[in-house]
Point group: C2
């Protein structure tokens, strides 16, 4: 007299097949929870084995097996194409809208300034001033001279900036709150195995793409590189839905997201190798070699898609096209409670201060490009207004020269721009618009570097007999390159903010295209990392993760305390004993009352309460779903039914209610450590295997449990931080 | 009445301090054994903690702590300098000795051909034929013309080649047998945690450096890049002895060796980033981010040291300077039993066949350089003897042209060279001289690529109306670049042999210095990897590791079988039960008889035989050393003394012999898995945590043990290979 329902349960309860979701919901995760890497990877291997074994049966199954094997590469191709296209779209739109603040093209309002003048037939020497392009004062007043025209242009500039930024913040607020900031700290947390539903969804993608264009165009002190990583990851996540292999497996999907992050950096900087290293060094958590290779492929496809889209035909990708952004101190800003007001105020101040100074009015990437530039003999920029002495010039190799009045003016303007950038950037970071940190911090470093470079150059010119110059700098020689100082400054500032090392150097050298500057760049990156580490160990991403209380187990920091597993496990010394479920003596009612009385996300199953010998581990979610389902669909399951986790169940007397067999949801291989295990080893196991929890035994008896949250709280406590700042499981 | 010896044992038996080597020998490893990564890393953290806590006590200790923190960087600097210097020395010597086969410089016998003619005052157009440089026939006969002079030069070429190669094989045989081959498979195995004493020692370094020069100069079909990685690792290992931190810790030393391998590739190819990626992708096993950054530093220092040594002042480092090598089928060559004869025969055949064909007579790197070269208008090489049509030439951009007689001759010679290279290289690999595979396989690929490229070019020239050319190749246009075909061919061939992916592309693009070729190179690397994987999954390094039976747990291959821990553990189903030691009831005699009767490298310690509840794990070596030491130095320890592994021992009756407390050598946190754990998870744990062994439990009772060797044997068995091919523990 085996009931129908029981037969059904028996049918699915062969070993390990709980991984194949006998019930909908079993084996999935709740929002804001940590995934179990080991289980996810097991599930994928089971799936792979199944497809491989079926492939011998029919041609169709063989084709399925081959297409399954290549789906990863196809996915990479699609991600590269989509990320590259979106980046191209964002570039073009942002360029057009940035120019819209200054004027409009009569030949067609959809042309930006540069494009408009290309269409013009005038000569190329004054291509910035072609008749088709009208500044707002020219359009409204009919001329562009005089104080009133200047004020009108100023006014239009501020109005457009406010319009763009307010539109951006309203769109973010209304449709996709996850679209603000750079997204890198959250992506880092997601990649480490955390679930944030919707963070990489289609609404976030659409709104972030639109608002990123608006935010960049508004002239705020922010960059687009960090958000581009987020956009690329959204593409990756959405495209995962096309393939069962990646849609259903959280671990496999994170491999794809790592590659998508690399593609994002690749299009942001035009640096495919730098992108892969950035993903490896800064963002990813689990990065097998297969992902390295796939990331490289995705990054290359994305970079070449962007390059082929680029309608301006210049060598932007290799030369210079940098930015990124980072939210900072989001929690402590009082203004943060009024996001729209905050954006209004910051944009207004930025626009008002930026317009009069030509170095802040131009887009930040143009500024950096100009600062990196080494002055040629025909350069018309103010920064290159030196006193020319053509007698001592040999070919292109210009000697150090005395600075002309233009250089002195530029120095003052740059000094003011430096002060403004530093302050405005601090306030811009935390705003509820897509924002990145890369470009602003590079700009700050580049300005400081250029100032120092010019100062050194003039010092060397006027005092070339000083001891420090005498060895290598004779009169009339080219011994100081201010552009190189700017480049090194930019790398140093960025390195200090993000603590990137190898990827920073590789990105910088891919940007500037010269292997010869690798030594000063490396020295700058190392020095800034050491100095910054001496002040505080955390980079900006890690600080942000900590401020938000995400459960992120840092892989770079060594755990250096001498505590043992028994100091961290629950229950603590004076707490009631660990809540356990016995394998063959508890009723449905008993288990339900345990579930209702506790909030733990899982329970160890033991042979008996007395022996405390561990059998396995069962997840709360799986238990609830299975019992609910059995009560509904299985005959004879009542509150007094006994739950069996054993392989074989004893014959029941005819009067007793039918039993509930739940071995299929039992994890028979839970991880255990002894109570004497040093915490450094426990931390290592959690990191490397991606565990959610680990059971603690003493001389073979179950003693307690350590969850990832316990580990993070313990680390926070030892670092004298508030352990309750860890918010999620 | 506590004996003196026992007090001493008590003094050291506080928790965990068995890591600090209470006895010499405890905690060290035997030759050809696997290290325990977890224990080594624990020891290093203990050491670090001790130094940090002491640093607050005195200024001296603070200085010690700071110098300890920077010792890693200092070590990297030294490795970079030494590896770069040695590579420079090898370059110069090999260049000189290669030229010695052809002639001698009268201005000074220590000048090579190029250098000799630089010293000469003759004009530069015929600098290869300056009067100071005499070929052997010119020196002996007084002239260089005619058949007899040719035969004399031929004879001297063969004699020198034989002399060099025989000297090399005799030196290797006599002084450092580990110096043969490329060393990369062994380094890979060592980095994965295996001990081969002397493999990275000073004798290996000295003999390998000398014999590498001899082997390269002899003109054998081998390269110097793989051996340079071995040389750099020897430098790293030897320099480790300067710092206690690295001398005493096997895990820390392996971090240094990973960085040294990167420095080796960096100097071999002039590709610092490629070197780091090669070390990450191909060689290293445990590669934390800190090592990434340090590897990069070491690689840069090495590359710049080599560049500053380079006495020829050319841009060799960035342009082209490639080779590597790989032993192959060493086991199956019958000639292998007579290494000197083997070298004699192979060298004689190589030299006899190589001299008449100019493409095999020139050094392989020169050959590759010439094959990569795109023909300019003034190129005098035979490969560039096209029919010039100056009317259609615009500037430097040459259109496709009809091949002249020189090109046809070159094609025939290259085809012959291809056949010869393929066969000779196969036999050269396994010889007992330092030898690398990179250059020979790149040469094979480059020749094939150039042949195909020229064929395509001529096809396009004569049939530009064919459908495949019509879209993009009009008459008189430059549509085919044979040099690019050679480059892609070289990358494809190398990729097929080694299965490198990202690092191959990065090395190739660092060698050739052009980001624009990255797409064809990547397509070539991917295609060749896929094709090669379809034929056999193993790259040449992995094949070599398997042939030698090294215990290497491949991190790239996924374990895809559905076996459980209970299927792999010992004892097997019908074997006698697991040998265990009880914690408080066995005498010295009992334990000694267990040690003598079994050969296991460690024993689990349990509460009692009946309960089989696990307490810890004790290593055979530690047990032997401790008992021996106690018998010698501790009063009252006799064969009937009881060994206690417990924390507290009961008071003994006065008549009984004194007890031996051995808790200090007990590992209280052995790793355990349940018998139901899938092997894929067990393999993952072994890989990621670097375990030597793992205990297996069922419902809390100890059941068996799985060692790394068991895992490897199981994998071999499932792959239908001989499980007994795994030779070491």
């Amino acid at each position: 007299m085996v009931p129908v329902g029981l037969q059904w349960m028996n049918g699915t309860s062969t070993m390990m097949d709980f991984l194949e979701e006998p019930l909908p919901g079993v084996g999935t995760y709740e929002d804001f929870n940590t995934i179990d890497w080991v289980r996810e990877k097991s599930r994928d291997r089971d799936r792979h084995r199944e497809i491989t074994s079926r492939s011998k049966e029919s041609t169709w199954a063989l084709i399925h097996s081959v297409s399954d094997a290549f789906s990863g590469w196809l996915l990479m191709l699609l991600i590269g194409l989509l990320a590259g296209s979106l980046a191209g779209l964002i570039d073009i739109s942002a360029h057009w809208m940035t120019d819209l603040k200054e004027g409009v093209c009569l030949a067609g309002f959809w042309f930006n300034h540069e494009h408009c003048c290309w269409k013009s037939n005038t000569t190329f020497t004054d291509r910035d001033k072609c008749p088709e392009w009208k500044s707002w004062s020219q359009l409204i007043l009919g001329h562009g001279e005089g104080a009133f025209a200047y004020i009108l242009n100023y006014f239009m500039y501020v109005v457009w900036a406010l319009l763009f930024s307010l539109l951006a913040v309203l769109l973010v607020k209304g449709f996709a709150p996850y679209a603000c900031g750079s997204g890198i700290p959250e992506i880092k947390t997601i990649l480490s195995g955390f679930i944030i539903r919707g963070y990489l969804g289609k609404w976030t993608l659409i709104i972030k793409t639109i608002t990123l264009v608006l935010a960049v165009s508004s002239g705020l002190s922010l960059g687009k590189e960090g958000p581009l990583v987020h956009v690329a990851c959204c593409c990756g996540n959405i495209l995962c839905h096309l393939f069962t292999k990646y849609r259903k497996n959280e671990a496999k999907r994170r491999e794809v997201l790592s590659a998508a992050a690399a593609a994002g950096v690749s299009v942001a900087f035009g640096a495919p190798i730098g992108g892969v290293l950035f993903s490896l060094e800064e963002v990813s958590y689990y990065f097998p070699l297969k992902t390295l290779w796939r990331s490289f492929f995705a990054a290359l496809v994305a970079a070449f898609t962007l390059r082929s889209i680029n309608p301006f035909g210049n060598s932007r990708l290799v030369l210079f096209y940098v930015e990124f952004h980072m939210p900072w101190r989001r929690k402590t800003t009082k203004l943060g409670k009024y996001p729209v007001l905050e954006v209004f105020v910051v944009t207004a101040i930025t626009a008002l201060l930026a317009f009069p100074n030509e170095y802040t009015r131009m887009s930040t990437s143009e500024l950096i490009s100009e600062l990196f530039n080494d002055c040629g003999i025909l350069d018309s920029s103010k920064l290159c207004e030196y006193v020319n002495d053509f007698n001592s010039t040999k070919g292109d190799d210009l000697p150090d020269r005395a600075a002309g009045p233009g250089v002195y003016t530029a120095m003052w303007q740059l000094a003011l721009a430096l002060i403004m950038k530093v302050f405005i950037t601090i306030f811009t970071f935390g705003m509820k618009v897509p924002s990145g940190l890369f470009i602003p911090s590079m700009a700050v470093g580049a300005i400081a570097g250029r100032l120092l470079g010019v100062a050194m150059e003039q010092l060397a010119y006027y005092h070339h007999d000083w001891a420090i110059f005498s060895g290598w700098c004779s009169q009339g020689a080219d011994c100081i390159t201010p552009g190189l100082y700017a480049m090194v400054g930019a790398a140093a500032c960025l390195g200090g903010v993000t603590r990137m090392t190898v990827s920073l150097v590789v990105i910088m050298f891919e940007l500037t295209g010269g292997l010869e500057y690798i030594v000063p760049l490396m020295a700058a990156a190392m020095t800034s990392k050491w100095v910054a580490d001496a002040i505080g160990r955390e980079g900006i991403y890690d600080a942000h993760i900590r401020l938000n209380g995400y459960p992120f187990l840092e892989a770079k920091e060594e755990f250096s305390h001498k505590t043992l597993a028994m100091d961290v496990m629950r229950p603590r010394r004076n707490d009631p004993p660990l809540t356990v479920i016995t394998q063959d003596s508890m009723t449905v009612e008993d288990v339900e009352s345990i579930i209702n009385e506790t909030t733990y996300s899982g329970y160890p199953v033991v042979v008996s309460r007395e022996s405390q010998r561990l059998v396995g581990f069962v997840l709360r979610r799986d238990l609830i779903i299975s019992i609910e389902n059995a009560r509904k669909k299985q005959d004879g399951i009542v509150s007094t039914s006994v739950i069996y986790f054993t392989d074989h169940s004893p014959p029941l007397p005819p009067s007793s209610p039918s039993m509930l067999k739940l071995r299929s949801i039992l994890d028979l291989s839970p991880f255990t450590v002894t109570d004497q295990t040093p915490m450094e080893i426990v931390v290592d196991i959690f990191r490397k295997l991606g565990l959610r929890q680990c059971l603690v035994t003493h001389n073979g008896k179950l003693l307690g449990i350590i969850t990832k949250k316990d580990v993070l709280k313990h680390i926070a406590q030892l670092a004298n931080q508030d352990p309750d700042s860890i918010l999620f499981n």
